[in-house]
Symmetry: C2
Subunit: 454 residues, 2 copies
């Protein structure tokens, strides 16, 4: 009793960000333990500790990078464990934790609300409890529909209904949570000519990556009464993030198409080119599933896709990266300055300068972290810059695409990728707050002096 | 008469930035014409137009990248032409232009002062005319001393005094202006064991890259009377830029050393390792001369040196890149934000927020321009990412180091590099101003709304 009391006391003293960290570490620890259980493995298969840990971090951060083949390593039980971990990671450790509290009837206090607020990055304290319930409801509904559609469609691919619906179950969870893992052994390549499967997967990936706030607003709009709907106004956040999200997909598709037009796409038909480009563009938002071996694409395309993965998904989604809003605000920041500081209006609104600065800082920090990681891996590995850059941005964007080098990496590089996956999932802002000591601001100011720049 | 009057009228209507552009283009045009003259070439050697243009842009921007071998192509006359062009580019087209006006006794008006101010990036209007005179005096003095020392030292290398002093003449100009061209056919590799030559060259490169304002302030300090010297205060600019400059050199040396310790440096003695690392670190500030084939360094080192070249030299120097001050202010910006907006004091001063934002914008724009250039070259060339990244940052930093691919590039890639050299030399701020239309700021503001970031 004394022991549990002192732990409670210790936890109570932690800052919200430190608490989130603690929860993430516990989640990774538990996941590792579960995935290391012999019952989770196929007969006679043994996994090195570093690979168990790597899989756990990859699953909790819903990245999908894997140094081992899921299909060749895990038993059916192991795959179900993995699906549960993806679910845990996708909806967010905090959201799940809170909903469990809800289930056992405990009222959520201000302290816990603040906890969720930091993780889900919400600006308003209101309706936090309701939010978590809604997230779960929305995600589970999407997954269940995806499971039914894919499972039924898979009946033509697999000999038993059980097998078809099991593949449908895992595929729906992996796509919706943006987990990006596969149990086919080669991602969605077996369905490379099945545009229906690809279409459903793209929809599920988009649902998982576009951000819960957007989903909830759209749900509110759809379920609103006619009178209410007339006055309904989507928030600036939803407008900006959704526009950026779809612009990135369209521009991504066009560029991917162009850059391999006379190379990988040279002998393909127009609909193959369209679907290869479209799917690979969508998946860089954070999905990670692929309908082709991205290592076969030209180096220019791999470089371009690295940029897309660096941007990543929308905030408060299952995805990572610097986030679509950050990217949009950086663009707005640059345009603002290029126009001599004249502020920009988007959708009839102005953005706070504070938000612009926040976005710029996030992008910079992310760039510095990514470049450092790539540099370090270049020193360790005898692997080309493009392959390592692709792998590192894939980890940071919690995307999970790979040119195929993950299994060949040394333990140190795997640790670097794990850190990138963690930062990508938690987000740079939260990551920065970890190191933020609460020093009081200096009371007096020093004289200012101008400095010549560039 | 009417013709020259209407040209004068047209020129008078240009903005300062457009005027600078015009002067740069004229300088490149004249340089190309001079370098294309048959008298400038060795017997029987013919240069394609694109390579003449490339050499001219490279010389005017004092970069030193070259798609042809200077030693095998140009005659003694051609080399003297090249030295003059480097001088023109190094001290700055505008500075030279103004000093010619001074020589013919024309008084410099406000309009012309402003012109030079933008090019040399000075914050105060005062003493602009004096400044140009001083720049010329300082640079020519340094070059003359360098010429005497190197020429005399070269007597042991060359059979005639004429040859030795000719090499000394070109080497002194190429190092001091940070031109980076060589007439040995292999940069400073012939002197790879001559640490005296390397030391002198490093000194000259630093003089050219550390920025004229710093040189002038140091000169003022040295020539000040004892009483005056007691109260002498170096500007914040000089302190920040000089500190950053030398920190970059030291950190660069250590990292270059470490990253090839068990690779290129494995069979070298300690003094070889030290001088190779030190010289290559100094030269990335913008010098461009090299004591080794940088293509032999490990990929990690080439990546690291690309980062150093991206930062480049100090403002108002003969070098390019985003500049040392920009780099320093970006670091200050990030630290400021990481500490929750609490302002940072450096040398007992605070920096203006406006300057921080300017620095951040410059770094971002530079990153976007560089990434776009590399992406485009990846599409065109069957060359590795690391080699193209190295080449592009070398051009943007007006450094001139190369892993040896310059001559193999297609004309389109050469044009991309020329644009990078131009932007790198002119500086991002000036480059942005080119597109800055003078629209009036909107009178009313739209309501602001917060956006969730990352
Ligand atoms: K993923
Ligand atoms: K140079």
């Amino acid at each position: 009793m004394f022991f549990s009391k002192s732990i409670f006391h210790w936890i109570h003293k932690l800052s919200p960000v430190q608490l989130i960290l603690l929860f993430y570490f516990i989640a990774v620890l538990l996941s590792s333990m579960v995935l290391a259980l012999p019952v989770a493995h196929q007969d006679g298969v043994d996994i090195p500790l570093i690979d168990v840990l790597f899989t756990a971090v990859s699953a909790i951060s819903v990245t999908g990078l894997s140094s081992i083949s899921i299909a060749d390593t895990f038993s059916t039980t192991g795959i179900v464990f993995l699906a549960v971990i993806l679910q845990l990671g996708g909806v967010g450790v905090m959201a799940i934790g809170t909903s469990i509290w809800l289930l056992i009837g405990k009222k959520i206090g201000l302290r816990e609300r603040r906890l969720i607020q930091t993780d889900q990055n919400q600006t308003s304290f209101e309706g936090m409890v309701r939010l978590i319930k809604q997230i779960l409801l929305v995600i589970l509904t999407i997954e269940f529909i995806g499971f039914l559609i894919l499972g039924t469609h898979f009946l033509q691919y697999y000999s038993t209904a059980k097998e078809a619906y099991f593949h449908g179950f895992f595929a729906a969870i992996s796509a919706t949570t943006n987990g990006g893992f596969d149990i086919t052994g080669q991602s969605l390549i077996p369905y490379k000519n099945d545009y229906f499967v690809q279409f459903i997967n793209m929809l599920l990936i988009i649902f998982g990556a576009i951000g819960y706030p957007v989903l909830l607003e759209v749900k509110h709009f759809l379920f609103a009464k006619q009178e209410e709907r007339k006055h309904f106004r989507f928030t600036l956040f939803t407008k900006v993030t959704t526009l950026t999200f779809f612009v990135l997909i369209v521009v991504g598709t066009i560029f991917i198409m162009l850059m391999d037009f006379s190379k990988f796409f040279a002998d393909k038909s127009w609909h193959e080119i369209l679907f290869y480009s479209l799917f690979q563009s969508v998946t860089t938002r954070s999905g990670g599933l692929a309908t082709m071996d991205v290592g076969e694409l030209s180096v220019s395309n791999q470089f371009f896709m690295s940029l897309l993965m660096f941007i990543g998904a929308s905030p408060s989604s299952a995805g990572g990266g610097i986030r679509t809003t950050t990217f949009a605000l950086v663009i707005i920041f640059i345009i603002t300055f290029a126009r001599g500081g004249q502020s920009i209006r988007i959708f009839g609104r102005e953005v706070y300068n504070e938000d612009l600065l926040k976005a710029v800082t996030v992008a910079f920090m992310a760039g510095i972290i990514l470049i450092s990681a790539v540099l370090l891996m270049l020193v360790i590995e005898p692997i080309s810059l493009i392959a390592l850059l692709f792998e590192a941005t894939s980890a940071f964007g919690t995307v999970g695409l790979s040119t195929g080098i993950t299994g060949d990496l040394s333990s140190l590089s795997k640790i670097i990728l794990m850190i990138l996956m963690f930062i990508g999932r938690v987000g740079i802002i939260t990551f920065l707050l970890i190191f933020n000591t609460n020093k009081k601001s200096g009371k007096y100011h020093y004289p200012k002096e101008k400095i010549i720049i560039g």
